[in-house]
């Protein structure tokens, strides 16, 4: 109940902000990215954090979301929400498919298989004229703004809703049977099976939900940039960010990826503007190394330790 109240209040606040005059447009432009990373980090954590299956194929899911949106927009001028829904459904289907093919692999082999998916899909898109191939495609945003002053403000609010929705799903998964089962899978798959956990089935559910949410995060991208092209959409940095943020925040609880994503993505946006665009990749890398070495349980782990020692 508390969660529902707080998240509604947060959304109302963000809605207020996005219809308010006088706020710099760039805040929404950057805020969209931060919220997008909240979705991505949360989505990654459902499989990677709860079940311990490290998905390196994040850009493949983002791209399926984005390119589905492009196809829907170009072919039937589908409205934004339909694009997002379509992107989510197809990325979820990709998650299910990839899961069926690869979830019998464990550890590093699963991760390698997911990287392969990125290259396969990128090659396909590079050779697909309809969506612009390797050169990309310019898109004109529709004039429909609902009651917002600009398209970016609208996208910012839409992404805020998607972020809250993703976190609510992750929270539900964590507290349900599914979460308990996924944790058991992470700790010992053999023992989980012998405790009655249908391991393949729950891994497939996690992979599908995780993939769908990544697709949802990717679907508004073409409209956000008014442009799409494969090399940035299939950028493997997304994988590093989507796994780095939960690891830095803490993978054991739904709030971990949220903390990690908000902190890091905000920091990245600030550094991009004030220092350089290249440096923001380095920040995530350095922090990731530091956390893995010093605080493998992330910020949540640090808080837990601090609470225990102050008792």
């Amino acid at each position: 109940m508390k969660f529902a109240t707080y998240s509604s209040l947060l959304l109302l606040g963000l809605l207020g902000l996005s219809v308010m005059g006088g706020v710099n447009e760039y805040v929404f432009f950057a805020g969209f990215v931060v919220l997008q990373f909240v979705v991505l980090a949360t989505a990654w954590n459902i499989l990677g954090g709860y079940a311990g299956y490290v998905n390196f194929g994040v850009p493949a899911f983002i791209a399926v979301g984005a390119y589905t949106a492009v196809v829907l927009f170009k072919s039937i001028s589908a409205p934004l929400l339909v694009q997002i829904l379509g992107g989510g459904v197809l990325a979820g289907a990709l998650g299910l498919g990839v899961g069926l093919l690869t979830l019998k692999l464990r550890g590093i082999f699963f991760s390698i298989a997911t990287v392969a998916v990125v290259f396969i899909l990128e090659t396909i898109v590079n050779n697909w004229r309809y969506v612009g191939g390797a050169t990309g495609l310019q898109l004109t945003r529709p004039a429909d703004l609902w009651f917002f002053d600009s398209y970016v403000r609208m996208l910012f609010f839409v992404m805020a809703v998607l972020a809250v929705m993703s976190v609510a799903i992750a929270r539900y998964v964590q507290d349900s049977f599914l979460g308990r089962g996924l944790r058991a899978v992470r700790d010992s798959e053999e023992a989980a099976e012998c405790s009655g956990v249908p391991t393949l089935k729950i891994k497939l559910i996690a992979c599908t939900v995780s993939g769908a949410l990544m697709g949802i995060a990717g679907a508004p991208m073409p409209m956000y940039l008014s442009y799409i092209e494969p090399s940035s959409t299939f950028n493997l940095s997304y994988s590093i960010y989507a796994l780095g943020m939960p690891i830095i925040g803490g993978t054991s609880h739904w709030i971990g990826p949220v903390i990690g994503a908000v902190l890091l993505a905000t920091l990245q946006q600030i550094v991009t503007v004030t220092v350089s665009n290249e440096l923001n990749v380095l920040i995530v890398g350095v922090l990731l190394v530091l956390f893995v070495v010093i605080a493998p349980e992330g910020i949540l782990g640090l808080i837990k330790k601090w609470k225990q020692s102050s008792k």
Binding site: R183, D187, S188, E190, A191, E193, C194, S195, G196, V197
Partner: protein
């Protein structure tokens, strides 16, 4: 006497190596069966076939009146086969209580306060009650072994397979685990015990089966087994 488990001509190969060649075995309801054999004789492989960790073997396995050969491990657990592992596999990020709630949730379908009470009763029976809310990676070796058995019990099995639950334990600890297994058997659970500690197997089992190089070389009461020349040859050589 009623048969609860029936293993018929099971063959399991790893590449060119035959780990089990036409093993047939039956276990009666409520029986305490000892499974012995030198290292590498196929004991754990046989257990893996029975519990469903392996499903790609030839032959058939029937349990409690139904053919379970094609069922996955978790489905067999639901039918009533539980096991402990030779090397303990705790859910190490969870407390002891949470470890037990996994089978409660997935086999029984509920993990509410009632199940917690039930789990506590199981832990009490094993002398682990004071560790219920300790994270399982903090447990000692003997506590881990007991937790493995407790977790297996939480799945409410008809058949419990104890895979070297006493390996590496000291003398008094062996007796503690043995007492637990006797107690479970008294409550009607059929038990297959794999063990290297001979005095434990001999004390516990009503019937002993000896495997060597993937074949059952003999079976009988503990007294006849120790005197059997084939068993002596398998363990000590010619």
């Amino acid at each position: 006497m009623e048969t609860i488990l029936e293993v018929n001509n099971v063959i399991k190969q790893f590449g060119g190596f035959t780990a089990l060649s036409e093993v047939s075995l039956h276990v009666n309801k409520g029986e305490r069966l000892g499974l012995i054999g030198p290292n590498g004789s196929g004991k754990t492989t046989l257990i893996n076939c029975i519990s469903g960790a392996f499903t790609n073997y030839q032959g058939s396995i029937r349990f409690d009146g139904g053919d379970i050969s094609l069922l996955k491990a978790h489905e067999r657990t639901k039918r009533g086969i539980a096991r402990s592992f030779q090397i303990p596999r705790p859910f190490s990020s969870m407390t002891v209580m949470e470890n037990l709630l996994v089978p409660f949730a997935f086999v029984g379908g509920k993990d509410g306060p009632e199940q917690q009470k039930e789990a506590m009763a199981i832990l009490q029976g094993m002398g682990l009650a004071d560790k219920a809310f300790v994270q399982s990676n903090q447990l000692s070796q003997v506590e881990l072994r007991k937790m493995e058995l407790a977790r297996a019990m939480a799945a409410k099995p008809k058949l419990l397979i104890s895979d070297e639950a006493m390996a590496g334990l000291a003398g008094t600890e062996v007796d503690e685990v043995l007492d637990i297994l006797f107690d479970l058997n008294k409550r009607g659970i059929t038990i297959i015990m794999i063990e290297h500690i001979m005095q434990a197997v001999m004390k516990f089992s009503q019937r002993v089966v000896c495997l060597d190089a993937g074949k059952i070389i003999c079976e009988g009461t503990p007294e006849t087994i120790v005197k059997n020349p084939e068993v002596q040859r398998a363990y000590l050589g010619d």
